[in-house]
Assembly symmetry: D2
Homo-oligomer: 371 residues x 4
């Protein structure tokens, strides 16, 4: 019951605080024999790294990942992989105000109520810096996916910033890497740039919706009834800082549909069954169907804003607070690579589980009905 | 890594299929010394029981729960509590069509792809009948909550049926028990009755949104970063049949807000800090704040409808299917007591975890700032 | 963290008390597609059943096992298998003495200190009746082993009763099924009969040592460093009632050896490497080597004897107690099938884990050294 | 299902190889508010450190522990504690022989068969260097014990070297810290010195038996039936390198006793019940009784000896091997602090579990019998 671990066969335990000497994670369960280099993990970390555009926090962290164990001569050995990232830009500043007051919307209050102590420097353990370790773990997960489900990919995209959604008919996968918002809609990228500049200058912040899509996910991942693939994805995404909602496929929109509208009819294609639609988001009864696995999550606006907010201090006196630190006007942006990493970890975990439990007994269709 | 268990300190393992001889659950971790009678559990099961109104499946199941272990002379002993419910109305019918074809939107297809075998009678393990066991477990969870957090209650309500939401200003907690939809809005209850009658007669179905509220939840439940209270609630709700989305507090609506709008300011009340709003839904940084814990989940329309849908059979031939069995036109109705049970189980689990790990070190406010 | 579960991929949760209406277990994780009938499980239960000779308790229990879920048309479906055994001979007797006093060597005292309540009828949850559920689970485990490691067998034997060991040079596997002590040494069987008759008539009891051997266990099961095969076997055996010690291979005798004596040299046989000895008991570095897996465990004498022993009562008064119930003069006898069941469950669990994690990457020897 | 973690509420995950850049562990679950300094952990590490006498390996490692997270201003915060120890003396040597051959009695063979790759430098992950991380974690565990069970101590001692046992009537707790063998018998310390010098010079090795005693352990730790305190201790000790047997209390000797001899009678002392003997080793029915918790484990002789042994190479050719590296003639010596650390971790875990689950409902004796 580690509160800082997730996954079963592919198990990740993260550690570290925003302003401690380092942070990192232990990845336990990666099969032996996978080539793994620091540079490969660095690629994913660089996507999440702060300070890459004017739309993310100006904290300067190289986020260099070191592999301390589990890899021998460039190949995984099946033993735990320790990944460490040193913190370098823990700017010396005056934390006395934050140490005494509770920032509304932050975890300051609840950490204090739970633990009676908190590392207030940059949010301590509740800081989104912890997600750097997840992204590193996600890099290992992608290697597992590559080995066990070749062709399977995981891609995240921002599909809504504040009240502004994208035009889904303009979806362009290649566009995602071309703009600082990871959005697939070029027009949205342009519009959002102006919108976010305004918010940033005003010292304000805004929420977002991120969509992560797993393509090429084999059918059969997930298990009833509390090891469902969508249940694990929901827990994984909800564990990301500032996430307040998760949905699969049509999600909340499915509530407004009739059974006729919601049915994903099945047809026979050249390579086996194919579906006429994907309202289900690739998961039926908690098990992947072979369609794209589609997850969306809502990120609330960061609570660190320049407008004073009412709060109380440790002595119980009412007061005001303004959060002046380096912050993200839209934390949803940097949540994109984190959401990808979480889906990659969940898929790697379920691929390993599936191989263990059910691999020999899969069903098939159109071959006499025998497994 | 049991796929059929949830919780850590309060751990529930369910078993059983729709048309097997019985179903039930093992509840492990309930403290000793709690009075527990079958009648108390029966109260909650009767709320979920099929056939109580014309808006739910006409399958007739008394859903009588038997306590087979863990209770001695009316009191829990700290050993595992086995709860069993016999199936009685497994109507003998012709399942040959379902056995050969895959019902779109059902788990038929994915179970087959995963296991190469499926109990097609009534959906087998993927049937919502499994949730009867959860509701029984939820009854035990409520006893734990009563002992550890007196005054804490868990109440579910339907807040949207199909496209029709409720008027939240008309919210009346007492109304919930007075209508067959568990809705707090009397006008919605009347409107929905007519709407659902139409769908039912047409052999159609519709989705819904259910809200579950924990009132009186103590501050400090949940732990960073993968044992978050909201993460566990998300997994719990997503594990309920037909659920496609989960949100906490403002949820997806938070994506459209600015930081100023989203901040729950803190003031000093007579009994300690109080919040000016509850956008966060009672959870900050994964830990309860002492405010109401508010969770909503979206239920898709049941896929069992009378309109023929295109599908394939085991031989890979394209065909059509109509599902004629006894089904719920809006499964969201019976999901209300299930959602309550899941929140009760999660809270019981976290109350026990919290007592174990952090109980001695809670912080306080306004008493000199010392824990 | 269920205290009543063991295993990960093959996960067993037992429930029930000595004098409750029933006891049983949930087996979660058995792959789909295995033929499974009640009669097959009954075979193993009959070996552990009380009252089969004058050397075991005279409680009369048919120990009929019912499969309540997880099997469809005689084949496992991959969903949880619920096995239930009804208690029938809960003789109505006067438990008032036991209810008030603590029997030395029993769990009476510690259950009371932990839970503040105990089901004193026949020991409640601490009774060895709980092991009936394990034996049923072991029957399922054997089916998993049969499917994943054909030819692998698990056999238990009593190798010491009280101070009397066996002549290991006389070991005859077939003899084990021919005497009431499951001993492989015919002479010991004869000697022990007279010895135990004497103890039984005197109302006394005696300890024993049981050896369980897994033959045909594939190399590669177990994982460093806390998921070691021998670590899991040690926990499994120590969890059996009255067990006070566990050893692998030479066990405690290895402490007296030099490195030269203890080395199991390796040679090349026709089918690959073979070992010159098996001091290690088939496990090196926590991973199976392909040799016989040899585990021994020590069972203390049952504490239920006719000679009065000094104790205290609930009021804290010093007193004496005599335990008059139906008891086993040598509980080690009935521990033999239980030990077998535990090893079968551990092996099934590790076979499934291994398939999941490392199956594709095993090494080989003498084929160019490449995996 | 992390193979590199142990414990539930107090959860330790170790990582690292003998010749990697570093090794360490994540300690998750330590309550907040405990003072914790590197120097305190260093104290325990120094006891296990290699090269402290001529009886342990001559590898020179300072084993300096760094706290990388979870501690703020000298106090635990309730977040994961990362402890790192850099490897410094990974002597550059020629590993080509070991890389090609399998050392009898080592994990070389089984790692290869499982993973198809192994880090052969110094044994990689199978090296006893991993236990440095356990000892660091044990230091944190002792702080938890100190807070939750003041006065509870954990002490290890060597009670047998090779065939030479100690005189238990000469047991002197203070003597343990005075000799290089951690033995409580001064005469044994002298005798063993000569004996081990002989073996060391001959390039041989020998086994040992270590006893670990928990004094002041509160009654009520452990839970039926697979979360037993003795079951967890057995798994913990068996997970230590080279351990082949574990026993509690009288252990294997109990097999030779009658029920009369084995009974620990109960009397009423000034402070409550007291026992007339401790055959049970402080555990009844898997739950601590309040007596000393006594665990012994057998350590086999290290397989690294100068006498050539027969083996095979990767190509399947028969050959011989001599292990020339720096090794411990009696690894049992350095297993003493490791055994202590494992018991400390198990007790810390169970203290936290107990507080969570049953703390409010403990029974008492002599106060009217009410909890």
């Amino acid at each position: 019951m580690s509160h800082n671990s997730f996954g079963h066969m592919f198990r990740v335990t993260t550690w570290g605080e925003s302003h401690g000497p380092a942070l990192g994670c232990t990845v336990d369960g990666a099969p032996s024999g996978l080539p793994l280099a620091e540079a490969e993990l660095q690629h994913w970390l660089d996507r999440r790294r702060p300070g890459t555009s004017r739309y993310t926090t100006q904290r300067r962290e190289p986020d260099r990942v070191e592999i301390l164990s589990g890899v021998f001569e460039g190949v995984t050995t099946g033993t735990p992989i320790q990944l460490m990232i040193r913190n370098t830009d823990q700017r010396s500043k005056d934390y006395s105000e934050i140490a005494q007051k509770f920032r509304p919307g932050h975890a300051d209050y609840t950490y204090w109520m739970k633990y009676g102590i908190r590392d207030y420097r940059g949010g301590g353990r509740s800081s989104a810096r912890e997600t750097a370790a997840r992204v590193a773990a996600g890099g290992v997960a992608r290697k597992v996916i590559e080995a066990l489900a070749p062709g399977c990919t995981v891609t995240g995209a921002m599909v809504q910033m504040g009240p502004h959604g994208i035009d889904r008919t303009a979806w362009d996968w290649d566009e995602i890497e071309r703009n600082p918002f990871w959005t697939p809609d070029p027009k949205a990228a342009t519009d959002w740039a102006g919108y976010l500049d305004g918010l940033r200058k005003a010292g304000s912040s805004v929420g977002a919706v991120v969509e992560v899509v797993g393509r090429g996910v084999p059918a059969g991942l997930g298990a009833p009834v509390y090891g469902k693939l969508d249940g694990d994805l929901a827990a994984a995404m909800m564990s990301i800082n500032a996430v307040k909602g998760v949905e699969i496929g049509d999600g909340f929109a499915a509530a407004a549909l009739t059974g006729e509208e919601n049915a994903d009819e099945i047809f026979m294609g050249n390579d086996g069954p194919r579906f006429g639609a994907n309202h289900a988001g690739g998961v039926l009864g908690g098990i992947s169907s072979g369609q794209d696995v589609v997850v969306r999550f809502a990120v609330k606006p960061t609570s660190s804003i320049l407008t004073p907010r009412r709060t109380v201090d440790l002595e119980g006196r009412e007061t005001e607070i303004v959060t002046k630190g380096r912050h993200d006007p839209c934390v949803g942006i940097r949540a994109v690579p984190v959401g990808e990493a979480m889906m990659a970890c969940v898929l790697a975990d379920h691929l390993l589980r599936h191989r263990g439990q059910q691999g020999a007994n899969r069903g098939s269709i159109g071959k006499g009905g025998e497994p």
